[in-house]
């Protein structure tokens, strides 16, 4: 059993960990120096998804998304949709692993073969998946402490380097630019669809909607802080030119003359967060896979899932530029289809089917 508090930590780490990797640069490219406002707009998608999955959770308590699909779209439709969701979660996990490999290759181990790095990540994820969701949630509760430390260290280490002039003229690309810049991050906020598989094991749902809403707000705030720092330190046009802007930011941190070049230290919590995110997606893929084809024991399925993904990521994304391009162009459409479009359709379907609903339960 996990608690709502753990779930809210999980939400923050889920979105923040890879959200600061390529996103700031993509956002700033569209939104200019108003990019720090974009996360708050893309948060709306997150709130919508959260509302839908919580609504469904209250209707079908103790059932995951895959389990209540048959009640909404029928047996065969559920099988098809379930399989698609498995594919979606699996591919997201794959992408997280690939992004991680990219950052590790650039920052820490430029000469080590990709296979080895992939393999080690796969190992950690498999081991983590064998430790059950409760352990993952507790791990998140532990490592989430590193998040404020990381952000505060970033702010204090960069405070002297911020050019306030970079924020003027206010929103140089206009609100249209800000909204366009919010499009790609919205698919990151939509990733909280994984909660649809975790809500059934939450012990108490006391105030869960407001707590999760709060955590979404925190996430948007953190992303906004990172984007602000990037704009303030590099300027909008220089940031748009740098795909791994957050990494450059971390490289720029300096405390006095004794703590310089400490990017490797920042990478430790960051990699930890990304590992957890990858683990989470593979875990959910594993659960949805076993629930789609109704397996009695499910943990071993993580092994083929993870290893298949390392192979596929190797074959799909040969270079980091492809990853960045994929994340900017293909990914939002692909992800938002599963994260927002399908749940919305399901919601409509639910209301069509249950036209005569007497009471819509909004609490268990």
């Amino acid at each position: 059993m996990i608690s709502v508090k753990q779930l809210s930590y999980l939400t923050v780490i889920l979105i923040f960990s890879t959200g600061i990797l390529y996103l700031p640069s993509i956002t700033i490219r569209h939104a200019g120096n108003g990019g720090w406002l974009s996360p708050f707009i893309s948060m709306m998608v997150g709130i919508m998804v959260l509302f839908i999955i919580l609504f469904f959770h209250y209707q079908f308590t103790s059932k995951t998304l895959t389990e209540y699909l048959p009640l909404l779209v029928g047996k065969w439709g559920a099988r098809l949709l379930g399989a698609l969701y498995v594919l979606f979660f699996w591919s997201t996990g794959l992408l997280v692993v690939r992004e991680m490999v990219g950052i590790v290759r650039i920052t820490l181990l430029p000469k080590t073969p990709i296979v080895v790095i992939c393999f080690m990540i796969a190992l950690a994820i498999i081991y983590g998946a064998y430790c059950k969701m409760e352990a993952i949630a507790r791990l998140i509760e532990l490592i989430v402490l590193l998040l404020p430390v990381m952000v505060i260290a970033l702010i204090t280490g960069l405070a002297g380097a911020i050019h306030w002039g970079a924020f003027f003229p206010f929103i140089e690309a206009g609100w249209r630019g800000v909204i366009r810049g919010a499009f790609v991050p919205s698919s990151w906020f939509g990733e909280i669809i994984v909660l649809a598989y975790l809500l059934p094991i939450v012990s108490s749902h006391h105030r869960s909607f407001s707590i999760l809403l709060f955590s979404l707000g925190i996430t948007a705030g953190l992303l906004s802080i990172i984007v602000m720092l990037i704009i303030g330190v590099f300027g909008a046009s220089e940031a748009a030119r740098t795909p791994l802007a957050t990494y450059e930011l971390i490289r720029y941190v300096q405390f006095g003359s004794f703590l310089q070049h400490i990017d490797a230290l920042f990478l430790f919590p960051w990699l930890m967060f990304m590992l957890v995110k990858g683990l989470l997606f593979f875990y959910v893929a594993m659960i949805s896979f076993s629930q789609t084809i109704v397996l009695p024991s499910y943990q071993f399925t993580i092994i083929p899932l993870v290893f298949l993904s390392t192979v596929v990521s190797h074959w799909m994304f040969l270079d980091d530029a492809t990853v960045s391009k994929f994340l900017e162009v293909v990914w939002p459409v692909y992800a938002l289809f599963f994260e927002a479009a399908v749940p919305l359709l399901l919601l409509v379907l639910y209301f069509v089917r249950h036209r005569k609903i007497q009471t819509i339960r909004m609490s268990p």
């Binding site: 059993m1 608690s3 753990q6 590790v104 820490l108 181990l109 080590t112 080895v116 790095i117 080690m120 990540i121 190992l123 950690a124 081991y127 983590g128 430790c131 059950k132 409760e134 352990a135 993952i136 507790r138 791990l139 509760e141 532990l142 490592i143 004794f258 703590l259 310089q260 070049h261 400490i262 990017d263 490797a264 230290l265 990478l267 430790f268 990699l271 930890m272 590992l275």
Partner: protein, 488 residues
């Protein structure tokens, strides 16, 4: 089955001579068993007292049994065991036995057994009095404030020591015996009403189901109790201090004391309690909160410092401050081994030194550690075999592991340090991250008798933190900070 047989082989008979034969048959080649024949009072009735002379207290035997027997009761009638028990024997702990095995066990555990003619029962009398160590100062868990007593090898003394701390009827003491051959007595202690019944049952089941020939120390029970949980972390706490046991009892732990062992086992154990020390509660809480944080720091350091050092010197040179760079580079020049191997070897040498210092008699042990640490270290640096920094790092790691009061947790970090060192040596900080990730997820997935091992840290509430990470004033803490809410 036994009903059909006219003669039970395990039963004593009414004839004293036959009983003697039966007993002597049991104790073939046991020359330390004494047989003392007496004539009870003025009657013609014979009696035989069997005991192991080194286990009983002779004065007591003479005063309470022999003198009374010899003076006897009024009248010439032969008396029964029941009469003897009621009227003659002036010992406090007396019990009637009728089985040979029972009698034999009693003799072996230091009681004197009295057989009389014309009675198929025997009287087992407690005149126990072997030589044992008195209560001494605790040597392995030293504390500055608080009680200095430590448990001894005497089980009942140990129970008495705990009783002196908790004068309450809710403190339950359950006697049991374990070991097919050794038949070692052990005691389960718990506070009724505070202890979790499920945990208590689990402990009892685990102990009952274990088949062991011999139990010589409580350490042997640990593996039976953890029930196939594979982890280097201690999920059962151990202590040799009665005051610690008393405080653990009040927190709802189940305590096991084993005869001949001065170490008590306490379960379930949480990670945080290995980082607590008795003085934490007896001294000023501001200072002790800081010291407790220091212990958390040393736990982290003793696990990670060698690995981080290897990552720094072998992989991520940019992390080294510019002013330190030339000195490190010049130290590194001409060293034959790669840093990772160097640290690994130094760590192993350090462990060897520590082991040598432990096993040797104390004066020599100190000499060995001084020679090892100072002389060999200094010589190795001067001979350009190892970097001076490596020696510093290894020494620091060693010292940090000494600050951890719980022996178990230090050994866990001692063990895990090596795989972490290896993976960091091969993959730098990335490997380090993977290693820490795996260690952490293993740690949070652990349960000790159903209780989450990282309780108060990983499922944490502010209330729990008051006595885990910090030590807040006593009135701020719950009186029984037992974390049953972690049970699922």
């Amino acid at each position: 089955m036994k009903k059909n047989t006219p003669y039970d082989h395990d039963q004593l008979v009414t004839h004293l001579q036959i009983n003697e034969l039966l007993i002597k048959n049991k104790f073939v080649h046991c020359d330390d068993v004494s047989y003392r024949w007496v004539q009870i009072g003025q009657s013609q009735q014979q009696g035989m007292l069997v005991f192991i002379s080194n286990l009983v207290k002779k004065d007591l035997l003479d005063a309470t049994i022999l003198r009374e027997l010899l003076s006897g009761m009024q009248g010439d009638e032969p008396c029964t065991i029941a009469q003897l028990q009621k009227r003659l024997i002036s010992a406090s702990d007396v019990r009637v036995a009728s089985k040979i095995t029972e009698v034999a066990t009693d003799i072996l555990s230091g009681r004197a057994v009295l057989f009389v003619d014309h009675d198929q029962h025997a009287l087992s009398i407690d005149v126990l009095g072997w030589e044992h160590r008195g209560v001494e100062k605790s040597e392995n868990e030293v504390s500055i404030r608080g009680s200095q007593q430590a448990f001894t090898e005497n089980l009942m003394n140990n129970v008495a020591l705990v009783r002196r701390f908790i004068r309450d009827t809710r403190l339950k003491v359950e006697n049991n015996i374990i070991g097919e051959v050794t038949k070692t007595p052990y005691v389960i202690l718990y506070m009724a009403g505070i202890v979790d019944e499920n945990i208590l049952q689990q402990v009892k089941i685990n102990l009952k189901s274990s088949k062991m020939d011999g139990v010589f120390d409580s350490g042997l029970l640990v593996e039976k109790l953890r029930n196939a949980v594979k982890t280097p972390f201690p999920i059962i706490n151990r202590t040799e201090r009665p005051d610690r046991v008393a405080s653990l009892l009040l927190e709802g732990r189940v305590i096991i004391l084993v005869d001949n062992s001065p170490v008590a086992l306490s379960m379930p154990a949480l990670l945080v309690e290995f980082l607590q020390a008795p003085e934490d509660y007896y001294e000023n809480f501001w200072l002790q909160s800081g010291i407790r944080l220091l212990r958390y720091l040393s736990l982290a350091m003793s696990l990670t410092v060698p690995s981080l050092y290897v990552a720094l010197v072998g992989y991520h040179h940019e992390l080294i401050p510019a002013s330190m760079m030339p000195s490190l580079m010049s130290q590194r020049e001409g060293i034959p081994l790669p840093t990772m191997v160097e640290v690994l070897i130094m760590e192993i040498v350090f462990e060897i030194l520590r082991e040598a210092g432990l096993r040797l008699p104390r004066p020599i042990g100190q000499a060995v550690s001084i020679v090892g640490a100072l002389v060999i270290g200094q010589a190795a640096v001067q001979a350009k075999l190892v970097m001076a920094t490596t020696v510093i790092v290894v020494a620091t790691t060693g010292i940090t592991s000494f600050t951890l009061s719980g022996v178990g947790i230090a050994s866990a970090t001692r063990f895990l340090r090596f795989p972490l060192l290896l993976i960091t040596g091969f993959l730098g900080l990335f490997g380090f991250t993977i290693g820490i990730f795996m260690i952490m997820i293993h740690l949070v997935s652990l349960r000790s008798f159903g209780v989450i091992y990282t309780g108060a840290l990983a499922p944490r509430t502010w209330r729990d933190l008051k006595d885990s990470l910090f030590r807040t004033p006593h009135q701020n803490r719950a009186h029984v900070p037992w974390r049953n809410q972690n049970m699922d």
